[in-house]
Point group: D2
Chain length 139, copies 4
């Protein structure tokens, strides 16, 4: 299991005239959380792109429970439960204090700059495997 | 069945450094299509908000098949298959010429400005019902 | 003088919790107007980028007079007053019916993909020159 | 003089197909810096809006010197040089390490929810005055 938490402070630009955060903006927060998870894994996404590995979103989904508001201090948790092989599934939870505001999911695959689905870079698999191993429970 | 098609021309601001449209921006196109469907139904969303009916997104989902690119001329179809009662489910398809670039889905409920889920305005139900009736097939 | 007018319908995503359009979004409308001016000149921006000419924004400015609101039907006028040589200066006006909502200005230069300022493509200069000539007054 | 510095990490969503940050997004960073300056002054903007004081952008301007890129760690400095009376002028500088990437300026006035320009709240003037006083030099 890979897990990471990112702090987000809601920007005015992210709100809409309903007085709350516009739904599509949660996906940019999910991304911020993914980027940080990769950083913590020792594989900055910027570095992956430089080596010719893109990680586009194939599917995304979100469920909105309570509205996020301007200036809120939020935690965005991202969780990858299964060792990534061809596809990577990430799940998200947006929290304000003890409340869950939204949950979500994104699916990714590694892609070449030409748009072909490719195998993850070896270093990614190794590091992800090691990180998964570390978080394995006692049983 | 309610159905509407909106034309979208892709803006430079909607692309990202992958050279294609950033995934979250498809949701703003879905919204443009919903707004137009309500216009065609004779119930502009602006008018609904003025009367105290908000129509927030409770859930949203998208699947990306082929990338949309800057300056593309796209069609965004929105389809409401079931007569809306408490919840409204809309499905979307983003098309460029004969290709489907993405599909999606959003779920909505009518909400008061105070954030309570409320029944749809009577005029909405009447007009939606009439429009559904018109599109009913021969059997 | 080069002049073009683009129609914009304000998106919900473009509003903020003040109930009006978020100021930074006017710059994406200015861009839509520029793109259309280039189309009308017979030099689509997409085509220019394909040939290795980027046209980044070096400076931008806007003045907000009256707020634009969700669902407004706006006209965005763009005007290039001087024959573009090294730098291109474009001026903008956002109008709703007989009202001017905002004015603005952007400055551009042609740039190579490597980030060097370069001369405009010959075809651009020729077409811009011809278009300027056509709009010249009787004296 | 009021001065504040905010840290920004560039989001993927903020880039465009030129591979750099889309120009309009700098204005959302300017805003983040303003919000933090108000926080440091002891007058969170959220609080001001709650009391009926809006602080819309009347004018904005930016000059782009070097491109900001995905994942860059930036500093955004905001500076208010004159004691704000009817209008507030803020100046900005976006920095990456020792480089200045962009400079900018925004002009604001306090506005009532009905759209009338109003005097700043007394507490704002008092706190701004005190903060200015503190930063006054020896001569």
């Amino acid at each position: 299991m890979l897990l990471s938490t990112t702090e987000i402070r809601v920007r005015y630009a992210e709100t809409d005239m309903m007085g709350v955060v516009y739904h599509a903006n949660y996906f940019t927060w999910f991304e911020a959380a993914r980027i940080q998870l990769l950083d913590e894994l020792g594989l900055p996404y910027r570095e992956l792109e430089r080596r010719g590995y893109l990680l586009p979103v194939l599917e995304c989904q979100a469920k909105f429970i309570l509205p996020a508001r301007f200036d809120d201090s939020l935690r965005v948790q991202v969780l990858i439960e299964e060792l990534p092989v061809a596809r990577i599934e990430a799940r998200y939870e947006v929290q304000r204090e003890e409340h869950t505001l939204a949950t979500g999911r994104t699916t990714h695959a590694f892609m070449s700059p030409e748009g072909r689905i490719i195998r993850p870079p070896k270093e990614f698999s190794t590091k992800a495997f090691a990180a998964f191993d570390k978080t394995k429970g006692p049983i």
